[in-house]
Symmetry: C2
């Protein structure tokens, strides 16, 4: 059951697709208070109460004990204290024995979630503007509530099947030659690969929808060449449009008057990669239409996927903030003994980026009238995603597209996926990436993954190896790294063969993982879940923070510590462990419900399949289009009859229908046998 | 066996106390190369090889896979990528089945340790200046080698017994009233306490050896009042001396000409807390004598302990670096389109602190002649520790003193302890603190601990609770936090009673922990060890990164994750688990050698005692002086006769002698009995 409670005058965020009447009375499970414009929701928690949700955020799956701020931020440092990353996913499930409910705060502005930081037993959620809808969701289980929430907010985006292939990316691939070398290095070594991302380097002066003619002399031909090798190019698009007369997107944007405005009606201008930029007003339908159409030339040239970036929006600085900064430097130069000021000077310049003052300096022209950006900050990126998706769908209504964004808000999950942003080459970020997945899935973002190997800082061989082992199971499997960091394509490392073998596991599992993903998407389920969602009666399972349920039948438990030669795993029921070394090389071991220490060499990683169920491997291949899934290997601890519903489709048609894609595979198990061959 | 190899002209660091002839030939186990001034030691490692050591550094106990730089740095951000903290402890033990050896790089300048970061199978250690002694240590075990190293470098500092009490600290306790309130709040609630640290706030304008008369109108009387309440005040002393005529330490330093000099012979001046400061030349014996004598007025007033800070030395900026910084700001103001420059501007000001260029701008006058600071950077802090210790010993040769420093170098372990520097209120820093302890112990620093609750950032109730549970076992047990962070004295929190009870465990165990500490110090043993050192044949034990052996008979396994209700523990042999809730309240459970999942509520934590051995609790008390250890409770899984050598002394006399302090306690065990009362 879903109830809606309305406070103030909510701005329509686009998150919700069901139209509900607002209920009377107070929001159950909370005490509601008001302080000026703020609306504050308080809840006293029992010691055993847990909180799942908040989508893309740091720390554990159980969010209790920390303070979060829904405020989309280009935050490159995902340390464990960060209150905000790039997205606002204000959906939580409160969970304790005998009581479970979900709550969604549909508010495009700043919302703080003090989930037991100030007082261990109290959750305090504050809407700063006080204009919001609160949705209260009840059901018999966390899973049912998560499903209900998807019905409230609409079905998840489904990418084309090739997007489940391995994707190589790096900030720094300048042109054709660089990309060709990357592809060649993978193909020569038989490292499977389906895509290469182009970061901002491909553009002319970082101008959206341009590409450097000297580096891509014949863009269309190069796209064709890559496609012959079964490689898709996936270019980046940023939010800002360079303020430069003669640059067509800027000229057309000016002509249609679709940029965000300052108080005085002039365009709001801030610096990002291309220099001074105007910012499309993604809250304005006409601006979205104009921006979406800008993708068409790239589609025309053969591009089938994009990643949208810098759409929090990230701002390096404005003239106003710059003027204030230099004034402070000048003051400081004359006040050398003001030590606190001198220290702060570093932060004055570093802190110009994404400055709250700048977000108060511009406005949107919406169907609801003019509104200051800081009131609706968190839906800007979702607006960009929506504009892009609409534009692509207008051009090619019959084909699925790949799209993933850095910034997001619930609702954008209907139009695209997200990646987890600019993580570091830190061991702790493997665990963080894993722990973020169920929250993203709860919020509808099924197609996601982290920058494997880590974006910032230098990776190491063992770190990349362990990152990839998580990536085998995440829908988006992309190796990505920043300019000036160590090269981290698999083939750069001494033990590249072990990592290649890891990628072959992804390809062997791909038809199965695609089936599990599509079933989850089309049934409004989560692809990754905390164990608590599947075993709510098992107190031990509820507290497991470093394992995930995957699809209907599996569980993963990645290694995320340096120099580890194994790890502990808690099995909430009997399972078969597949200890993978490659798509063809693995051990099988039936393990009983209990605690286990699993030995895992650097290039070994496990998948656990529930007893009585089975997973499927195909023969593998070096790209998704070459996978042969006519004959499948079933792996399971099955002692009687068992069946699996395999979902399969052409991988590109829009509006996939679950029933049309399902085939039932059956086998007859017997004690001591774990492997079967099945013809599809 | 120890062999010494000499390269170039080593500067005497004071680390080593044995005089060895340099051996001929190459350093065994390494390939030695030269590049210009650099000397480079390379070693190919087998996959199973582990590396212990490097003292105070981030990441796991096994240091393999990361790059470290011995370069003492005021680094407030102990994230997992940091190559340097405040100390240089260049001693490592390479460890693999069938081969173990130690190696010490006695070099006061920059040494890099690429321990498998660039290539997973290669350790590359580079002395940048190429002037060093390398000591190669062989023995039958890692423990034996660590002992041998202590014999090479001298016995560990032993603090007075009261220093093992709980110490409360905070940057921000301004004067008597604040300290009195802290003490009162502890005593009223029966939270045991033995000391309060005074951070820089107590001084006049941050000037060393001064105290604010308005806040401490009668310093001696206040010291006396505190001592009556069994509280010691522990003031901080920084390295820099304010450049201010009329300020006695500056005037006397000028008169004796004991400050570090620039190339032109003028004093080197840089900004730290007091403003522009001169820096005592701790490499000059006369400067050390002068500086050590400055402590005497404080000793005279009744102070018995100090902490030395900012002695890397930390530098905020110099006039030279400031001039360069403002010039860059001015350039940037005129080149707004230079984006990389604009970004870098934040770092220009933040990066002025501890700037390598500044470390090349000054010189030391040593018995070996004039030498540029950057050649000997890493022994500056050790020189300050030595000066302080000499000064105190001249004043009171018959009493032990408390002294712990932020910066250190091997050799300083003979004169004082160290704390682990400015950690954060991060969960990962509980684990980091634990993992740092054995490395510090290997390097001779037995008296150490971290800032419990975390120094920077805001702590939370549960985080502080778990920090304290580690702190119960670390020789230095200090709660410390930074200005502008959340107050984190135990009594600030709703569940203060649970944390108080945790501190009572420390006091109940104190006679036992003191005995274990003193035996380790006087036998050149480590108080904390990786399990690998005790169970080298047990492959599982060797890889355990989150448990420590404590003393002869015990093992600890702290909880370091938020919202955890237990943890896994690997028992390398049968042990009795004591699950503590307070010094009087605990469960006892015999557990067999194996893996165990241990349930642990927020205020519960375990100590494991080897089967056949026992630990001891006294009745407890609210300060060390009130502990009654005439009757002890022995806890053990003992089924036959067992004995324990209890070390006990008056807690203050210098040169404690092991034999004089030992008493043998005996008991007769029987199956099913775990508790005995023993009269000492």
């Amino acid at each position: 059951m879903i109830r809606k409670y309305t406070f103030g005058t909510p701005f329509p965020t686009g998150a919700v697709v069901q139209s509900l009447e607002a209920a009377a009375g107070e929001v159950p499970f909370f005490e509601t208070g008001r302080e000026g414009e703020k609306v504050i929701f308080r809840r006293t928690m029992t010691p055993e109460e847990m909180i799942f949700g908040l989508g893309e955020n740091v720390r554990g799956m159980n969010k209790r004990g920390h303070l979060y701020r829904a405020w989309n931020t280009d935050m490159f440092n995902h340390s464990e204290n960060q209150p905000s990353l790039y997205a606002s996913h204000n959906f939580l499930i409160f969970f304790r024995p005998g009581q479970v409910f979900g709550v969604y705060f549909d508010d495009p502005g700043l919302v703080t979630f003090d989930l037991g930081e100030s007082h261990g037993t109290e959750a305090v959620i504050t809407s700063e503007n006080g204009n919001l809808d609160v949705y209260l969701l009840e059901g018999h289980s966390a899973r049912a509530i998560a499903r209900e929430f998807r019905q409230l907010t609409g079905g998840s985006y489904t990418p084309p099947r090739w997007a489940f292939g391995y994707i190589q990316s790096r900030w720094g691939y300048a042109g054709e030659e660089a990309v060709r070398a990357v592809v060649e290095n993978h193909r020569q070594r038989h490292i499977p690969l389906d895509g290469v991302c182009l970061d901002i380097d491909y553009m002319v002066d970082y101008k959206n929808f341009s590409w450097k003619p000297e580096f891509f002399p014949d863009w269309k031909a190069f796209n064709g060449e890559m496609k012959e090798r079964h490689i898709r190019l996936i270019p980046i698009i940023d939010a800002g449009i360079k303020q430069e007369e003669g640059y067509a997107p800027y000229d057309s944007g000016k002509a249609r008057d679709v940029f965000c405005k300052k108080e005085d009606g002039s365009d709001f201008i801030a610096s990002v990669w291309p220099g001074m930029c105007a910012f499309p007003d993604f809250l304005n339908p006409e601006a979205r239409e104009w921006f979406g159409d800008l993708y068409q030339p790239l589609l025309e040239e053969g591009i089938e996927g994009f990643w949208n970036d810098m759409n929090e929006p990230a701002l390096f600085f404005t003239e106003d903030s710059l003027r204030e900064g230099f004034a402070k430097a000048e003051y400081q130069r004359q006040h050398l003994d003001d030590y606190e000021g001198m220290w702060a000077l570093g932060n004055v310049f570093s802190g110009m980026a994404n400055n709250p003052a700048d977000y108060r300096r511009f406005y949107h022209q919406t169907p609801q009238g003019k509104i200051c950006h800081d009131q609706v900050h968190n839906i800007y990126g979702a607006g960009m995603t929506h504009a892009t998706a609409e534009g692509i769908r207008r051009y090619q209504p019959d084909r699925r597209y790949l799209l993933f964004s850095r910034s997001s808000f619930i609702g954008a999950h209907r139009d695209g996926g997200v990646w987890q942003g600019d993580n570091f080459s830190w061991w702790s970020h493997i665990k963080m990436a894993m722990q973020m997945m169920p929250g993203l899935n709860m919020s509808g973002f099924l197609f996601s993954g982290c920058d494997l190997g880590g974006f910032g800082m230098d990776t190491t061989e063992d770190l990349l190896a362990r990152f990839l082992q998580l990536g085998v199971f995440t829908p988006l499997m992309r190796n990505h790294s920043a300019l000036h960091t160590r090269d981290q394509e698999i083939y750069r490392f001494d033990s590249w063969e072990g990592m290649r073998d890891t990628v072959t596991v992804r390809y062997a599992l791909l038809p199965y993982l695609y089936s599990e993903f599509m079933k989850a998407a089309l049934r409004d389920e989560m692809y990754f879940r905390p164990l608590a969602f599947d075993y709510p009666q098992d107190g031990r399972a509820c507290r497991v923070e470093d394992q995930l349920m995957l699809g209907e039948d599996c569980m993963i438990a990645p290694v995320y510590e340096p120099n580890a030669v194994g790890r502990y795993v808690y099995l909430p029921e009997d399972m078969l462990m597949i200890r993978f070394r490659s798509g063809q090389d693995y051990d099988l071991e039936p393990l009983e419900k209990s605690d286990h220490y699993i030995a895992l060499g650097l290039h070994e990683f496990p998948l656990f399949v529930k007893k009585g169920r089975f997973a499927l491997l195909c023969g593998g291949g070096e790209c998704t289009e070459e996978l042969d899934d006519t004959r499948l290997t079933a792996l399971g601890w099955v002692e009687g009859p068992a069946q699996y519903e395999l979902y399969r489709d052409d991988g590109v048609s829009v509006n996939p229908q679950l029933e049309e894609g399902l085939t039932t595979l059956q086998l007859q198990g017997e004690a001591g046998k774990y492997v079967w061959q099945i013809d599809r």
